[in-house]
């Protein structure tokens, strides 16, 4: 073969729009095309390792992955490898096919990449289903691009008595053909060599123009590519396999959903059990970070911003990273086994009456960790209206960020009844799911009316999942989440911190008085303890205590006073009694000083929160939430949690107890008690009555309180209009439901 690179480069550009094929002239662009389930992505990972970036194809929600592959030892140039979406045909009306057409034509490229046709197309085929896969090969051939055909899973085909001969197939197709096993990496080096030598195919039979003729062409090519000894073999490929037998159980109308429920329960069990450890570590690290900043920086705005704005804020989001990673890892494994496709059909029966397709179940499931990956996972739904409906209702699912709020409220409601609290917890999940599917039904009957696309799905045979692929996919998702936490969420945290911390409020006279008392107590504890109790006695002259350095001198003075001042002898005898019983020891006074001092701190934090912009906003908006039973304190909590739900708990801690989190062990209990006993402005009514707690719980299950989710909805649904629809609808549902609960229960 002559060196085809130069020729192919020119040809690639002529097929494109005339725009340079790349920013770096020495970098080739290679597009990876193939049917779904051919192992295309596994092969992409084999070629690129971890070095790839994930983005979007412009104007679409389709994920684009691009990797810079270094030139091999044999020479050649670096290359950018683009993993195109899995498609069955380039000629379909689906958005995936459209993207593939445009990328191959050079009129579209992943975001941030220059336009220009690829210099090489690698078509990945499934060796066990060669004829069908070769139809796509034929369609790519029509683009006149240098092409390499990869026959993956050729070993499986061989096990079925169909040995594929790469040389013969290559001769028939007139291009490089490589047999690979993407799982083991076998053949990947051959593929690299073949890519370098790629040329415009010259098949022995030209690809016919029509879609029905291409099928016969593909069959003919498949015939020619078979090992000569196997050409006469007839293998009954329609025989029942183990997979088919398994499907009888897995897709059984009654057993199927039970299996599905068991698989999902197992998945969530593993998720929550395993994720709690790394979540604890992350919490510890961020807690340590906050403490370090507070201990090493001088008091002031910067310290406050770093400790309470950035580190605490980002920490509260990053803590969900283990759950998200583990969820994606488990789903990737499950998908790789082939079960998820069956699950989609099982769920189709259940979701279809609500206007949602079976594909929607993975997004809805993922949303139980976090709505962001859930919404991103809706890309698997082919019908645009169904996809939009799924995006809109996905945030109804109970995400991890709601859990701290559920914990707080169910604990308040069922203090010593963990069984009931657990039941309420399950109820919250159920409420979210019901609200989601019913909302989808409403959407499909109104703004997203349209015929449902009937479900067609390939059911790949069951196999042992590839941990490598799952890990790589997980790293990808985890990184995306972290980037989000480092940008959008960081900004939100800082803005929220600023709203909550400014304007600064001067301490009230009440606090000043407490601080004075604290100073006196501390002073008295220093000089011997006794004086304070007497000092705090209003009938005593303030200077009496001065000079009592210890118990003995105090007792002597009192005894003398009994004789010197017989009219008040009984009072002095009381004092002597108190001192002898050691009622007011220095330790006690110190403890009392600390208690009062912390009371003052909390009061000050409360006043600061109340006087801040957020507090003003809360008080201003409170009348709106009056019918739901929220006072100004709860309103501040709800307002703050519109940025991110988990903020509610820390806001409540600050507003009610004046501290973000428990300061020591056992503090959790005290904090809970403080929250439970917190009073409204009238000083009588509790902030958290049962009616209010239920109303809040329902509100948090249903309300759209997550700015990052709205941002992702706008991106995925293709406009802020949909984010607005989502926000208004969810907030309205939450408001009405919480109001009904409160009005019925109060």
């Amino acid at each position: 073969m002559s060196d085809p690179c130069c020729q192919s480069g020119m040809d690639g550009q002529s097929a494109g729009t005339g725009v340079s094929a790349g920013a770096d002239a020495d970098v080739r662009r290679i597009a990876l095309v193939g049917n779904p389930n051919t192992g295309k992505t596994t092969l992409f990972n084999r070629l690129s390792g971890l070095r790839h970036k994930t983005g979007n194809f412009p104007g679409t929600t389709l994920e684009a992955r691009v990797a810079r592959v270094k030139a091999g030892v044999e020479g050649g140039r670096d290359a950018d490898l683009i993993d195109l979406p899995g498609i069955y045909s380039l000629e379909l009306e689906q958005i995936e096919a459209q993207v593939c057409r445009e990328v191959l034509a050079g009129t579209s490229a992943p975001k941030g990449e220059p336009l220009g046709a690829p210099e090489c197309a690698v078509v990945v085929t499934d060796g066990t289903n060669l004829a069908r896969n070769l139809m796509l090969v034929g369609e790519v051939f029509r683009r006149r691009l240098p092409t390499v055909v990869v026959v993956n899973m050729a070993d499986l085909a061989e096990a079925k008595g169909m040995r594929i001969d790469a040389g013969r197939l290559g001769e028939a197709l007139g291009c490089g053909v490589v047999l690979t096993n993407a799982r083991t990496g076998e053949g990947v080096d051959d593929l690299r060599r073949a890519i370098r030598a790629a040329r415009i195919p010259t098949p022995v039979e030209a690809v016919p123009p029509g879609e029905s003729q291409i099928k016969h062409w593909a069959e003919e090519m498949a015939d020619r590519g078979l090992h000569p000894d196997d050409a006469g073999n007839v293998v009954d490929i329609l025989e029942e396999t183990k997979s088919d037998r398994a499907d009888k159980i897995v897709m059984h109308p009654i057993v199927g959903p039970l299996v599905f429920a068991a698989v999902m329960t197992g998945l969530f069990y593993v998720l929550f059990v395993l994720a709690q450890y790394p979540m604890g570590w992350i919490e510890g690290i961020f807690g340590y970070g906050t403490a370090w900043i507070e201990g090493h920086l001088p008091e002031g705005i910067l310290r406050d911003l770093l400790a309470n704005g950035i580190v605490a804020g980002v920490g509260s989001t990053v803590i969900f990273l283990p759950q998200i990673c583990l969820l994606f890892f488990l789903i990737a494994l499950l998908e790789d086994t082939g079960y998820l496709a069956r699950g989609a059909f099982v769920m189709d029966r259940i979701l279809r009456p609500f206007g949602l397709p079976g594909h929607a179940f993975v997004p809805l499931l993922s949303a139980h960790a976090c709505a962001l990956p859930g919404i991103m996972a809706t890309r698997a739904i082919p019908d645009p209206k169904e996809r939009l409906a799924t995006i809109l209702v996905t945030p109804f699912m109970t995400c991890s960020a709601r859990l701290p709020v559920y914990v707080l409220l169910t604990t308040l409601l069922f203090k010593d009844r963990p069984g009931m609290a657990a039941l309420a917890f399950v109820g919250c999940y159920a409420l979210g799911i019901c609200a989601g599917v019913l909302s989808a039904l409403v959407a499909r009957r109104t703004i997203l009316r349209g015929k449902s696309r009937a479900m067609v799905l390939e059911l790949p045979s069951y196999k042992v999942p590839s941990v490598r692929t799952a890990v790589l996919g997980t790293v990808d998702r985890g990184w995306m989440f972290l980037k989000n936490a480092g940008t959008t969420i960081l900004v939100i945290c800082v803005v929220l911190w600023w709203l909550g911390a400014y304007p600064r409020v001067e301490p009230s006279p009440e606090i000043a008085a407490i601080r004075q008392q604290v100073a006196k107590l501390e002073q008295s504890a220093k000089i011997g303890g006794t004086g304070v109790s007497l000092q705090s006695n209003p009938s005593l002259k303030p200077d009496v205590s001065v000079g009592w350095r210890d118990r003995e001198t105090a007792l002597q003075s009192f005894r003398k006073l009994v004789t010197d001042d017989p009219d008040r002898a009984s009072m002095y005898l009381d004092w002597i009694d108190a001192v002898e019983r050691n009622v007011f020891s220095p330790e006690e006074l110190t403890a009392k000083a600390q208690q009062l001092s912390s009371d003052a701190d909390h009061l000050e934090a409360r006043e600061a929160k109340q006087g801040s912009f957020l507090g003003m906003l809360g008080e201003g908006v409170q009348p709106v939430f009056q019918p739901l039973g929220f006072d100004w304190q709860l309103t501040i909590g709800v307002m703050a949690s519109f940025a991110a739900r988990e903020v509610f708990v820390s806001t409540m801690n600050v507003v009610i107890a004046g501290q973000e989190e428990a300061e020591d062990e056992g503090g959790e209990q005290r904090l809970m008690e403080q929250i439970q006993e917190a009073k409204r402005s009238d000083g009588v009514t509790a902030v958290f009555t049962p009616a209010t707690s239920w109303s809040l719980l329902v509100f948090f299950v249903l309300a759209m309180q997550c700015l990052p989710t709205l941002a992702v909805t706008a991106r995925e649904a293709g406009g802020y209009k949909w984010a607005l629809v989502q926000f208004v609808w969810m907030s309205a549902v939450a408001y009405v439901a919480a109001m009904i609960v409160y009005q019925v229960m109060k």
Partner: protein, 115 residues
């Protein structure tokens, strides 16, 4: 996937088509039975997707499951051993109702040489 003799909406029940094939709806086949796809009444978009997935007029299939979904294995043209796959295609029942199949369960598959 349109072929001569096909009239959309005409074959509302199983019967004989213009070419003389005894046709049954895919949804009315039995589990384990084999058939050759002869006609369909699918909408263009669904038909294009199914064709790209390998389920088109002329292919042999075997039914593995009926109902929702109907699961079939697609084996290419009768006697053509190289074209099928290990994969199965799940099709919604309402699509299966629109695919007309000639029952070839009793046909004996005989080896043929390549080409």
């Amino acid at each position: 996937m349109a072929q001569a003799g096909l009239q959309l909406g005409s074959a509302t029940h199983s019967g004989e088509n213009a070419s003389g094939f005894r046709l049954r709806r895919l949804s009315e086949m039995g589990v384990g039975e084999r058939g050759i796809v002869r006609e369909h009444q699918l909408e263009a978009e669904d038909a294009a997707l199914l064709r790209a997935m390998g389920l088109s007029v002329g292919v042999t299939l075997r039914v593995f499951r009926l109902g929702e979904p109907t699961v079939v294995a697609v084996g290419g043209v009768t006697g053509h051993c190289k074209c099928g796959g290990l994969c199965r295609i799940g099709v919604a029942r309402r699509l299966a109702e629109k695919i007309l199949v000639e029952d070839v369960t009793t046909m004996v598959v005989v080896p043929v040489s390549a080409g």
